[in-house]
Every structure is written in C-alpha cells, then in structure tokens.
C-alpha cells in the first residue's frame, strides 16, 4: 500500500474513533440541552419560586399548582427507607466478605449479590406490590395497598449489592500493612476493623453510600408500581406517595402531545432529578478518586 494512502487511512480511522468517543460527551450535552430547553415553556407558566417552594403539585388538573416539593419529599422518603435497609446491611456484608469470609464463601456470595443487582426493577416492583405489601399488611393492617414503606424496603434490597460491593472494594483495597500495624499494637480483630480499617476506607465507603442514594433517587419502576401516584406531602410511610420518577412515568403512559404543559412538566421534573443525581454522583466520584489516590 502506498505510504500516503496508508497514512491517510490511519488518520481517518483515528478521527472516526475520536468521533465515537466524543459522542458520549454529546450525550451529556444532549441531556442537559433537552432538559433545559423543554422545561423553559413549563417555567413560563409556573413561577420558579412556586415550583421550588410550593407544597401542592397539580400541574395537570384544572386548578393548577406547581410546587414540586411533594414529589421531592416522596422521593426522599422512599430513598431514606431504602438507605436504612441498604447501609447497615450492605456495610455488614462488605466487612464480612472482606475480613471474615473464606475464599470459597466469597465466591458463592458475590455472584448471588450480582444476581440480586441484575434483577430488572420491574420485577422488584412486582415483588413489592404483590408479595411484600400483603406480607406487611399482616403486621400493619392499616397499610395502604400503595405505600412508601414497601417500595422503600424493596428498593433497599435492590441497592444493597451496590453498597456491599463498592464498600468491599474500598475495604479490600486498604493496604495489608494497616491491618498488621493494628494487630501489632494488640488490637482485636473487631478493634482493627472499626478503629483502623473503616476509618481508612471511609471515603470509599461514603462514596458507595452516596452512589447508592443517587441510584435510589433515580429508580423508577419500583415506586411507579408499589408506591402509588399521590403527589401529596405525606409524613406517614404507610401511605401512598409519588416520586419524581413515578410522575414522569405516569405522564408518559398517556400519549402526551408535544407542546402541552403536561409534556413540558416531565422535563422540568426530570431536570430536578438530573441535578440531584448529578450532584451526588460527582460527590461520590470525587470521594472515590480521593481514596484511590491515597492507596496508590
């Protein structure tokens, strides 16, 4: 092949590869552009102040209120319940896997956790509505069919593998010399774990918690199926609530016409959702890089 042709081809291939790589950046720009441009018409009708501080969310009904707080509250409530399940259990499992389990036990539990993580969320939704809620109703008779509690508990199980696996990575990455130093000072195994290992791996563990919270906030199908569609500020987890994601699903299920307020409202809610998860993800990334650098 002539040199010039070969060089041109090499150059063209590199440009093509670069173009593909840049596409991922274009996706981010696309997301931001779409969320902002499509929610502008919404904010033309809904004052931003009301959007952020109003406590009533009825953008689709005749008497319109645009307070997004009920959706945010619903989201945070359910995320909170999920975290109450996932944090302690996830951390315990991580410590167990990293410090106690034999290689054989670990090689059984880790794939099982991966299966748990790989189950589609619609399946978890089914499980929450048709298995967990009826079970809970036996204990709590006044539990609504659609309720935050059941959705939150199942969501906790869903994000548990993420907490466990990322926290375990952080613990596992802690240098052996830390453990040895702690033992050499006469610490028991638990003292070593809680006074040396966990503090050392703290930023990695925190990163896993935050990432899991972001995941819970953005999770859609469990809440759309099991938590209900009531956009009211409720303090009782036995009641139905609506999250931001569930609202988007509910509006999308009908064939929303372009240019209507309904259509634009889901982008406005999507924008809030995106900003919240972006903030948490960035924080988690930053923490993660910090611990990776510390161990290098």
């Amino acid at each position: 092949m002539p040199v010039r042709l070969r060089r041109t081809m090499e150059w063209a291939i590199e440009q093509l590869l670069r173009l593909c790589a840049v596409l991922s950046v274009a996706t981010t720009i696309g997301i931001i552009y779409v969320l902002i441009s499509q929610s502008v018409p919404f904010f033309a009708e809904a004052p931003i102040k009301e959007f952020l501080t109003g406590t009533k969310w009825t953008p689709l009904s005749a008497s319109k209120s645009f307070g997004v707080l009920p959706l945010v509250m619903g989201t945070l409530w359910i995320t909170f319940i999920a975290m109450v399940v996932a944090l302690p259990a996830g951390l315990l499992i991580a410590i167990y896997l990293s410090e106690f389990a034999s290689r054989r036990v670990r090689s059984t539990i880790k794939p099982a956790l991966e299966i748990l993580a790989g189950i589609p969320t619609v399946v978890y939704g089914y499980f929450a509505l048709l298995t967990v809620t009826p079970l809970l109703q036996k204990v709590i008779p006044e539990l609504n069919i659609f309720n935050a509690l059941s959705a939150g508990l199942v969501m906790g199980v869903m994000i548990l593998p993420m907490v466990a696996s990322l926290s375990e990575d952080a613990l596992y990455a802690a240098p052996q010399r830390l453990r040895e130093a702690s033992y050499a000072l006469g610490a028991t195994k638990l003292q070593m774990i809680f006074r040396t290992l966990i503090p050392a791996a703290l930023s990695g563990i925190a990163a896993s918690f935050i990432l899991a919270a972001a995941r819970a906030i953005g999770e859609t199908m469990i809440v759309a199926i099991a938590a209900g569609m009531q956009p009211i500020i409720a303090w009782d987890p036995r009641e139905a609530m609506q999250t931001m994601t569930a609202f988007i699903v509910r509006v999308s299920m009908g064939d929303v016409a372009r240019g209507t307020l309904d259509y634009h409202s889901i982008f406005a809610v999507g924008l809030v959702l995106f900003l919240m998860t972006l903030g948490l993800n960035s924080l988690s990334l930053w923490l993660r890089e910090r611990y990776e650098r510390a161990y290098r």
Partner: protein, 311 residues
C-alpha cells in the same frame, strides 16, 4: 514459563488474602457475635432473592405454557400472551447491540490506544463516569425529545433501541476499556517493532486478545438493556400491541413493559380457573429472568473459555 500470562479479565477478588494467620484470643466472643450478625445480613439478602424467585414461580407457573408464549395480549387474563413483547425485546436487543457495540468499542479503543492522557481523554472519562450514574428515565426523556420528536422517528422500535443504546453505552465502554487494558503491552511493542501501523496493531493483535472481555461486557450491557422499563415507557412502548413490529419504524412493546402493564391491571379481573393478570405478569417475569440468566450464562462461558484457551 517465560511468556507472561494473558489475563483477559480482571479478577475482582484479587489475590491477596486478608485473613490474619492467627486471631488474637481477646475479644473472640464479640467477634463471633459480629460474624453471626453479618452472616444474618447475608442470609437475609439471600432469603429475599429466594423469596422473590419462589413467589414469581408460584404465581406464574400455571400460565407457563406454549399458548402464553404464542398469544397476543388480550383484555382477558387467561387469553393474554407474551408473543409481541418477547419478539419486541429480542428486536430491541439486537438493534441496541448494533448501535452500542461499535460506538462503545471504538470509544474504548480511542481512550486506551490513541488518546494522550489528560485533556480530551480526561474530559471523556469523567463524562462517561457521570453518564453511568444518570437515572435511566432521564435517558428516556432524552430519547423522547431527540429521537421521537426532533428526529421524527415516532414511538418506534428504532427510537427505543437508540435510547437504550445510549443508556448502556457507558457499560460497554467501561468493560471494553478493561479488556483492552488487560492486553499485555508487549504485544503492542512487538507488533509496532515489526512495522505494523497503530491501527494494524489494534485490529490484528490487541482486539483479538481483548475480544472475550469485550463480548462479555457487551452481553452484560444488553442484559441490562432488555430489563429496562422506564426509558422505553417515555419513548412510547405500550402494553397493548396486537401485532409484531413489521419494521424498525413500527410501534412496539417489550417484556418489561408488558409485565408492568399486567401488574397495573385490576387484580379482581379474573378469567376461568381464576387466572389473573398478576399471574400473567409473574409468568412474564419467569421468562424474562430465564432470558437474562441465559445471557449471563453465555457471558460467563465466553470468559471461562477465553481463560482456558490462553493458558
């Protein structure tokens, strides 16, 4: 053995062992208590997994028959079937692979084999890490505004596949990069020293070695894609479709959508033998999980085979 072993995938468990050789005696009681609690957490998680699987199989087993797989949805639960959803998911998966595989692998090649560290590469890396954490429904909104509306692809199979491709692209990229990074550097040096160009080196040496890792990552990404519900709801998959998609511009449904549709039906609606839509949903879940299991099996098989061959 003088040739360095080639590890196509990274062993997640590492090879150090943190078990101390001798546990101090003191505090042994508390330690056992802690271990019991931790084991309890593990067991609880496993119980949930088992409970979930048992409950869907119990609910769905009497709907698992050939008729269920070959029927269209119906307003009567005992007549409803999964056929359009099953094929919808299949087409969706193939189309998604068609988009995300070349772009994802190309991006990984660019980042690992071409880009200088820093600058653009750093920006792209950060961006991919962030994209991986964007909620799937936000991708749905992107697909709705760009593919469905702006590009006028309507609520079609194509819109759904493009949306899912963007969603799983970070997974493909991250897995492919890992596979490329596991290719020992000496392979590149040897090829370049023989006068191979950079692309020849990548195409003829690096990619074949990284292929099992890339395939495994792609299959896992696709199994994520076919389990996704929210993003394709927003781009307009619907639960009640009584035909198979004729082409990629046709409307479509998919298994998770169909399951969601059935779960949301009134539980009182029963057919003969007390068949409910909830049982249809459970049966659909069993099929969906079986498909995911099969895909994961293939991925694991590919990985093991590659490890064996390179030994």
């Amino acid at each position: 053995m003088s040739a360095q072993p080639i590890k196509p995938t990274v062993d997640p468990s590492g090879d150090q062992d943190h078990q101390p050789s001798a546990s101090p005696r003191r505090g042994r009681g508390r330690e056992i208590a802690f271990e019991v609690i931790a084991l309890g957490a593990v067991t609880a998680a496993m119980m949930v997994l088992v409970g979930l699987l048992v409950s869907v199989v119990l609910d769905g087993h009497n709907r698992l028959n050939a008729e269920f797989l070959t029927s269209f949805p119906s307003s009567m639960p005992h007549k409803a079937g999964l056929k359009p959803a099953f094929f919808g998911s299949l087409y969706l998966m193939l189309l998604t692979a068609l988009f995300c595989f070349p772009v994802g692998v190309a991006t990984a090649i660019y980042l690992e084999e071409y880009a200088k560290k820093g600058g653009l590469a750093r920006l792209i890396e950060l961006n991919i890490a962030n994209l991986a954490g964007v909620p799937s429904i936000v991708y749905g909104l992107l697909g709705l505004a760009i593919f469905v509306r702006a590009l006028n692809l309507e609520r079609s199979l194509l819109s759904g596949a493009l949306t899912l491709a963007l969603l799983v692209l970070p997974i493909v990229i991250i897995a492919s990069r890992e596979a490329l990074r596991a290719v020992p550097p000496y392979v590149r040096d040897a090829s370049l020293a023989l006068g191979a160009s950079r692309w020849q080196t990548v195409w003829k040496q690096v990619l074949p070695i990284a292929r099992p890792g890339i395939m495994t990552g792609t299959i896992l990404a696709l199994s994520r894609a076919i389990g996704e519900t929210a993003p394709i709801i927003t781009v307009g998959a619907v639960g009640y479709i009584r035909h198979l998609p004729k082409d990629i511009k046709d409307s479509f449904t998919a298994m998770p959508i169909q399951i969601y549709d059935w779960v949301s039906q009134r539980p009182e609606a029963t057919g003969p033998d007390n068949v409910t839509f909830q049982q249809d949903a459970a049966a659909g879940i069993v099929i969906l999980l079986a498909m995911l299991l099969a895909m994961n099996g293939v991925a694991i098989w590919l990985r093991n085979r590659a490890q064996k061959r390179l030994k």
